[in-house]
Amino acid sequence: MVEKTKLDPITFEILRHRLEEIVAESYYTLARVSGNAVITEAGDHEESIMNAMGDTVMVGGGIVEWTGCLEDAARYISQEYEDNPGIHEGDQFIMNDTGIAAVHHMDIQVLKPVFWEGKRVAWLNCAGHMMDVGGMQESGFVFGATERIQEGLCMKGVKICEKGKIRRDIEDTLKYMTRQPDLFMLEIGARIAANNAAATRLLQTIEEFGIDKVLAIFEELPEYSEKLIRAKLRTLPDGVFRATHHFESIREDEGYLTVKCALIKEGDSITLDFTGSSPQSKGSQNVALPGARSNAECPFLMMLGYDIPWNYGLWGVINWVLPEGSIVNPSPLAPVSTNTPAGAGYVMIGTVTDCISQMYLCSDRTEEAYANGGNAFHNPNMYGTGKRGEFFITMMMELMICGGGALAYRDGDNTCSNLWTTKPQVTNIERAEEHFPWLYLWRKEAMDTGGPGQYRGGTGCTNAIISYGIGEMGVHDMGLGMEPRLANGLAGGYPAPNVKQIVYRGANLKGMFENGQLPRTPDDIPGHREVKPLLHSFTLNPEDAYVIYFGGGGGYGDPLQRDPEAVVKDIHQEYVSFEEAKRTYGVIVDPDTQQVNWEETRNLRQEMIQERLTLGKRE
């Protein structure tokens, strides 16, 4: 028996930092090489280092929602393909099977085994969203799917690289099965490059410190993370914290769907129990088990694990209850493509965020709690003939800049939040117009879209575009929260308002432009007004205009306790209207002086309290 190497605290810290750098290397390489705006501008990717068996040792902070899936992929390949087709030096594998390791089929992972002296010592995974994976519908989001097999390309860990070279047969197959073959292969190349960059630095590290020490950090780092999370859990109150979120089903016959979450925290143990969630849906908003866990881990990492290295030791402490046959653990045949962002996967993130916030609110660390934000949004996937005559498909990225939820001591941040990622950003208007055939009328912060509260939820945005190319443009909208209000508030704060999308048929704005007029609000736009439902496909003609309201963040605390001066400041910055100031905050602002009318405000707030005491009933 060889004695196990135990690292001294100095080598441990140096190697821990080195692993962070190796993952960062991979992150930057993908971001720089990729040609997909969802990756380069929305950060929809993530990279990790895993041990030889596929357990995550270190993961970067990209799209946090997929963290768990990365190791599911490496574990699967390690277990299934060791003998046939074999795992060798110079190989890389492609994986996007939602039943094994992906949130939806668009999330394509490429995995590289790393060898030292002929023996596999690690896996690297680089994963990112693709704009198309073939199947029934452009974009990979398949609204009409009733079976998973309709949702396009599904690779179960196929060897795409052999002896360092991309296999021609696989490349040709992939290109045949997807709608943007060139972009698809560019993205695969980017992942391969990212893995190679990380592998080079990992091998240098092994050379520098010796394989024993590197294998030791692979083992000790997850132990370290587990100890830290358990220690943190012990400082938080024991209890059961619950959230119920309802959202529209893509299937009209199902009405609405529900995710229920209970977080049970006792000592240093934590259970996430989704009992009571809807039974499996007939439509594509189900989330398969790997994606369900991975989504639910997202707020766990951001809210509880932000100061702990991210690896299986950290999330391994979670006990799961995901009822079989439910919307969060459906049969292997059930369609799942829209679970993120417009289905059960994304909604799970919101419920777990709520539960963790409730736990923090009961602790002495209330500053860590925040209301939900960005749970409701539209995410149009646009496709058609591009500006240079090519087929294009892209996402409108404004869902990345929803309003953030309010905190227990301050307002939520305006137009900069999304549940998936710690680093959201939206494409410039000019970048979008350079590459895609539309013209923006506006992109603004939308008044009154932050959930009211003592601390206001962050404001969402609104935009408007016209088609500005050679022909018509197709739209597959992904969205949530047109009827239910999903970004709910905390401790007396209201949920953020609903979202909406409106098409103005025959607006024919080009005529207006020629007369020197540019619409600045929806009221300025002529034409026949059509409110479009969520998860809906439609065509945008050259003479149409398209207006969207994206989601805000939930509020915190009773809005009648909001400082009236803060409401006035919000009016000046057009975050809140005079009407809502009065109707929801009970604040009367003198239209001439633009200052608080204190007496009328006091009276109105008193009246509103009286109204509550009259309307409110004991159950």
Binding site: M447, T449, G451, L490, G492, N498, R612, L613
Partner: protein, 95 residues
């Protein structure tokens, strides 16, 4: 002493006393912590159009905003969007 928003959880001062919820604003005692505090609060089911601009609101009636108030001072403890008829959700229960 633990507070959650405007609700305080008061531990029993003496043996034989109950642990109770009370209102942070008016100190009104809501009731023992053996039950969900929502049982002691006033509840109002408001339409979804409340507290948002009307041009964004929809009105199917499937859901409502369930508002919970202090029965003494009217402070709003919590508001949740739930299906109109479903039971309350016990947001937190300390063990």
């Amino acid at each position: 002493m633990i507070t959650w928003g405007n609700i305080r959880i008061e531990k029993a001062a003496k043996k034989g006393q109950e642990e109770v919820y009370s209102c942070v604003q008016c100190e009104h005692v809501l009731g023992p912590t053996t039950e969900d505090w929502k049982k002691y609060a006033l509840v109002n089911k408001a339409p979804l159009s409340k507290a948002q601009p009307l041009h964004l609101a929809t009105h199917s009636g499937r859901f409502a905003l369930r508002e919970f108030y202090c029965p003494n001072c009217g402070t709003m403890f919590e508001v949740q969007m739930l299906a109109t008829e479903e039971p309350n959700v016990e947001t937190f229960k300390l063990l």
